[in-house]
Symmetry: C2
Subunit: 793 residues, 2 copies
């Protein structure tokens, strides 16, 4: 049956050709209109300077190619009913995608002001690249998009993420030859090594080589074609080439290419889904489209070639208001699309153009997959309390906290076989999350050997040694309505920090758009933290991502620093239920002290911060002499130890210990929804007593968070100050002046009153630190004897 | 002549084979010793549990391959006198590289404690992966390295950067198959599209496919070999394969492969340097080495295969202290290298091993190119004052400030034809730095067409649409002693933020090492800032890199926010002269107001911050009513405008305006060498008057910087609070509450005294903001009329 369909698709009859071409001309016309026009949108009168925008902004060069592809994929959808989404890698072709949504009617459905008539068209033109309007790149406001234009490199990772566990979905991913130069893009071709044709949907990459980027030629467009094809075949693709600028020839050839690609995809899927797959990774089809940059635009301007060169990247004709020749050229150019055939008297697209749009939600601009909140369902979550560690007495027993999270995720995997995935750069076991392998292998479509472990075709744990792939796949998975977690080493989370920033911006921009429904949060787990890296060195010690997320807007940024297993479980459960946040969870993977029972943990996490009475000597009846606060596991251990030293050695000295799990509770409520009330803040931190705060990240973050709180200057913050090397966690706290001894000295130095014995205790602390220094130097090789919290007594 | 050399190289005689193999066995022995031994380093007695380190850490798997390659490249150097450096992409093979430096004598020269005798060997073993010792990965402490192990992906970019303008240098870059999965690595093969064989040196990539990463197989090792080879040929390389685990066969075949590769490189260079190059990009050779992971290690442990699998990634034999079988296995393994043949009675390498090392500085562990400070020469800099803009009256005329920097760099290019380069993701013209094209084209080795502009074989401006490549190339260029600048869009600087972090850490770690001499600073210019993006949207608005660098240690981090052209010139001159810093310069590229004459600019930049008397109404005789401070161009314009409004409308109100160019002057001197004294700080900011601070980046940064300064709570900071869209710079300041009107209201709200007329002025400010709001909404399409600082009057 499908063979017949493919044949039909491959052959354009004259009527179809006319319809396709009309749609394409309309899209191009609207693209140019967006860049140039502020009046006379339908060219009902001769073009005059006052019809031209005073400032010309936008990107023409990539747009005609994007629209051509869009037109043809729409035809494919109409013929086949294939569900498809469109990801425009050359994101500055925004006007093309906006034009497509407008021609399909979706734009007016979402933004009624931009109606399908002359007034709406004028609105469409005026809003583009204008203050308070829409950007020149594809953005959150563009219907049908899950892929922001601008920061290049992620179109394939988003596409692959979107089709995982989405067997009926086709993601058409257009890659510009500029984007193709980026590292993240080049690293993302390998998505097919993880894509199961039976269970997942398909990505159709279309490498659009139009030859130039902003100001010069691209590498791929200037390499010999056989090298480019060899490269893509080496990545595992079957290359289908379409090249030229002749019309209708390009329509005919592109239709045939697309038919062949879709037919091949369906063959691969059909075989895999009907027991006819030998398990070899398929050669997935890919189209290389070579068409001139700025195709159908003015060939020459002022005697210089424009179309086919970088000069058509943005605005091929400048100074149109003041230059009569350019104005005439623009008019001729616009009229070359014969707008009078494309729009009716009211200004609406004519019937033949309307007919090009697939039905309803099959329109790519209206696909629910590109507005994943529509498809988002709650996870079936087990009761996280059942994974709890029993804690008889706080701070006495150790456990690997993340192991419990692994068990929780194992059962989430089992209960949600199509809507939950873990993404990790080859560190799932290292991060103690290996329990997931009890129910799912790693996904892998390349050769698997007999003695491989927990890896195979049916695996759904995503491990690839690329933070960019992991992060981007999860984004695509989230934005199409499914849940997951990205787990990585803390220092190397900076590799994908720009993706975290950009995804956070996407979520922020989506919030005020009523038509974009909330999607599952992006959950990021950071382990192997700055404080504990064993045999690794300074390059592995960097809590930078905390600060990056902290600077995101309060409506998306969430930072959690659970100090032990039960708080981690409670935090994770909360994150898995949440929507449209960036949830950053930081916790070490090594055995660590356990403090709270599961009930205490839930109560603690619910408040986000609280007094640990058992750790202090504060009776609550009056202000303590000092508040010791902490956020983060290793520094919490040091703070608890400091409180213990003070308790044991200066019994009359009143110490209150406050632990913070949810960092955002420290912010004023007017600046963050999690911000605790002034009353609660004062209950915890008083409003006059000095606070010695031991923090996992850079100390400035706490100053930033408590800014505007009562007498914020009384917060003395210790944290990571970029002192590191290959050493023990305890030595790390010494180097960064955050050890128990430093905290005790800080407490005494800042206390409301100095009790008897304070001077002796300070001297003792100093001597302990000196002993430690000698100890580290003398016992270089003896890791266990100086490791962790074990220090000379 | 060289043909004969190649033939000699390709054929190993028995003596050479014996020497090579002895060296390799010694390196492997020392590698295992570092992982396992704390005593009995030469196995002079039977191995006992107490000889074993209590905690076993390190990475064996990749090490034997790294050492094999090292041995063979050393032989190549001995035969040919080729200058070479070695970059170990699989950076956790640290013990192999440390062993190599030790065998070559360099290690003991640098670290006399680690002498070439039994005591020194014990020191070598004990320091490894131990607190206070060295990390398990290649690090700054490793002689001969310019490439930190850990964060994967940059080995090729560092290698290409190192050989630019270094015609006699060969950079041997070993790429692990784990690293080969990362985006940055995949994006870096294209270095050869920018490498000129006549003028630049050569990179020899050796893709070391040993099959596994931490916990599973790698993509490339499991793809069909023809796909891998096709991929690499598609990247433009000639693939030379060596595969197996047989000995001495592997030595013989690798020697032949290396000879062929080197011969090919010399042919290419020779042709290009002697007028026999047609300009076609050469097919550079590349070696694919397939050898088992953990090669020569124990095949099986406890009945499970180890060598050749991921199980040999780190420590193939665990629990050796407590497991007699494992202890015996370890002893057998160590003795299989016949240490008694490798080290003499004193414990020093025997003569045949010493003979393997090239002479002096030709040893790769002693190459001056890997300690680029040795080769660093001052740039020949023109007098930056000659590029100055004439400023008759401050704040009245506009100019594109970065254009002046472009002119300065043009002349730096001309004066320093081999030691200065600009690296930019295709934005040199967009960033108004295009003057450099008057003296140098863009570098490009792919096809160049007749109508291309400023691009060609001889070009030395590096443009590639990849922040990772640009940043990494510059790092390699810097670390080998040459100067440059990386210019990019502010928001997308986050793409390479992890590289900025890692390079900063490298510089930090190098400072205390007396043998590592200072290298040129990494200069980063950020334009197209958060505040001014015209047709771009929220995704293009992010001042994140400022915060990232701010959190680096004071001995490397430098942040400059010049407000105009002359301050930019002064700052740039300073940066080009500096050593071993990360210099971040942030300035917009669009026409902007000019404030200071060149002399004023020099004085201002020298202090780093200062009062602009002409802007305020402060007579200096007593404290002002308010201090308005600013850092960053757009916010400086708003602050100057706010001061003007106050001056004109409330003449009796005393305003002081402080502009900060060098952000680090705000920090206390004990925390940063640029930190201004308390006296100067108080002179500028008083110690009691409130300060309204308008900042280019996130406001928290200023709170962080002034922490600990007198009454730091009095700083009211406005800055970028993640409010953005496609709009004008003025509207951006309104959205982020940093506009002139907000600043006036802030000033009045926080002033020491409220003058008569304050209430009216506040009301007027509010009405102006309301007008602006209506204005933006009504005039969507009219960019120039609402652009910049033009606001309704």
């Amino acid at each position: 049956m499908e063979r017949g369909l493919v044949k039909t698709l491959a052959e354009l009859d004259d009527a179809e050709l006319a319809g396709l071409d009309a749609w394409w001309r309309a899209a191009n016309y609207l693209t140019i209109g967006q860049i140039y026009l502020r009046g006379n949108p339908l060219l009902r009168e001769p073009l005059r300077p006052e019809h031209i925008k005073p400032r010309l902004l936008g990107h023409w060069g990539t747009s005609p190619g994007l629209s051509l592809i869009y037109a043809h994929v729409s035809r494919l959808i109409r013929h086949t009913g294939q569900e498809a989404i469109y990801l425009a890698g050359p994101g500055h072709g925004g006007p093309a995608l906006v034009a497509a949504g407008y021609l399909e009617g979706t734009y007016s459905e979402i933004y009624p002001r931009v109606s399908q008539d002359e007034a709406g068209m004028l609105q469409l033109f005026r809003q583009f690249s204008s203050p308070g309007g829409i950007p020149s790149h594809v953005s959150v406001t563009t219907p049908g998009s899950i892929h922001e234009g601008g920061e290049l490199g992620y179109v394939l990772v988003h596409a692959f993420g979107a089709v995982l566990d989405n067997p009926d979905l086709l993601a058409v991913a257009v890659i510009g030859d500029g984007e193709a130069e980026t590292g993240p893009l080049e690293g993302s071709w390998k998505g097919i090594s993880f894509l199961n044709p039976a269970r997942d949907g398909a990505v159709l990459p279309i490498l659009h080589l139009n030859g130039a980027k902003i100001a010069g030629p691209t590498v791929l467009s200037r390499k010999p074609a056989e090298e480019v094809n060899g490269l893509l075949r080496g990545h595992g693709y079957e290359v289908i080439e379409v090249s030229g600028d002749d019309l209708p020839g390009m329509h005919v050839r592109f239709a045939a290419a697309l038919a062949r690609a879709w037919g091949r995809i369906r063959e691969i899927q059909d075989a895999a889904r009907n027991g006819r797959w030998d398990g070899t990774r398929p050669l997935w089809p890919l189209i290389v489209l070579r068409s001139p940059k700025g195709w159908t635009g003015p060939d020459e301007v002022d005697g210089v070639r424009v179309t086919g060169t970088w000069r058509s990247h943005q605005v091929p004709l400048s100074g149109v208001r003041d230059n009569a020749d350019h104005l005439a050229l623009l008019e001729r150019w616009l009229r070359s699309y014969r707008p009078e055939e494309l729009f009716d008297d009211a200004g609406a697209p004519v019937e033949v153009i309307r007919q090009q749009a697939p039905d309803g939600a099959l329109r790519m601009s209206a696909s629910p997959h590109a507005n994943g909140g529509i498809l988002t369902r709650d996870l079936d979550l087990p009761d996280f309390r059942t994974y709890a560690i029993e804690v008889k007495e706080p701070g006495t027993e150790r456990a690997e906290s993340t192991r419990k999270l692994g068990e929780l995720m194992r059962d989430i995997y089992a209960r949600n076989p199509r809507t939950f995935r873990l993404f990790c750069p080859d560190e799932t076991n290292s991060n103690r999350l290996g329990a997931v392998f009890e129910v799912s292998d790693r996904a892998f479509m390349e050769r698997v050997n007999d003695d491989d472990v927990a890896i195979g075709r049916d695996g759904r744990v995503m491990e690839v040694l690329s933070e960019h792939n992991c992060h981007g796949w999860l984004e695509g998975y989230n934005l199409t309505g499914r849940h997951g977690m990205f787990a990585t080493y803390e220092a190397f989370a900076m590799v994908s920090a720009s993706q975290t920033v950009q995804h956070g911006k996407w979520l922020q921009e989506a919030k005020p758009l009523p038509w974009r429904l909330p999607v599952p949060s992006l959950n990021v787990l950071l382990t192997s933290t700055a404080w504990r890296n064993d045999h690794n060195g300074f390059s592995h010690q960097g809590p930078g991502l905390l600060q990056v997320v902290l600077n995101q807007r309060g409506d998306v940024a969430r930072l959690y620093l659970p100090p032990d297993a039960n708080t981690l479980l409670s935090v994770a459960d909360h994150c898995f239920r949440s929507r449209s946040y960036i949830n950053l969870i930081v916790i070490d993977k090594q055995p660590q002290l356990q403090y709270l029972s599961i009930d205490e943990a839930v109560a603690h996490c619910t408040r986000g911060a609280g007094v640990w009475e058992w750790a202090g000597t504060d009776d609550g009846t009056s202000d303590p002499d000092i508040v010791l606060a902490c956020a983060g596991d290793v520094v919490t251990m040091e703070t608890v130890a400091a409180a213990q030293i003070l308790r044991e050695r200066l019994p009359g000295f009143k110490v209150r210990l406050v632990n913070v799990v949810d960092l955002m509770t420290l912010i004023r409520p007017k600046d963050h929804p999690h911000g605790m009330s002034e009353t609660l803040f004062t209950e915890l931190f008083t409003d006059t007593v000095d606070v010695v705060f031991a923090f996992h990240g850079y100390p400035g973050a706490i100053h930033q968070l408590v800014h505007g709180r009562p007498d914020a200057d009384r917060f003395r913050v210790r944290g990571f100050v970029e002192q590191g090397t290959t050493t023990t966690p305890f030595d790390m706290t010494v180097r960064n002046r955050t050890s128990r001894y430093h905290l005790v000295m800080d407490a005494l130095n800042n206390a409301r009153r100095l009790p008897r014995g304070a001077a002796e205790l300070m001297a003792w602390c100093e001597s302990q630190l000196q002993k430690h220094e000698g100890y580290v130097v003398e016992h270089l090789e003896d890791m266990p004897e100086v490791r962790d919290w074990v220090v000379p007594r």
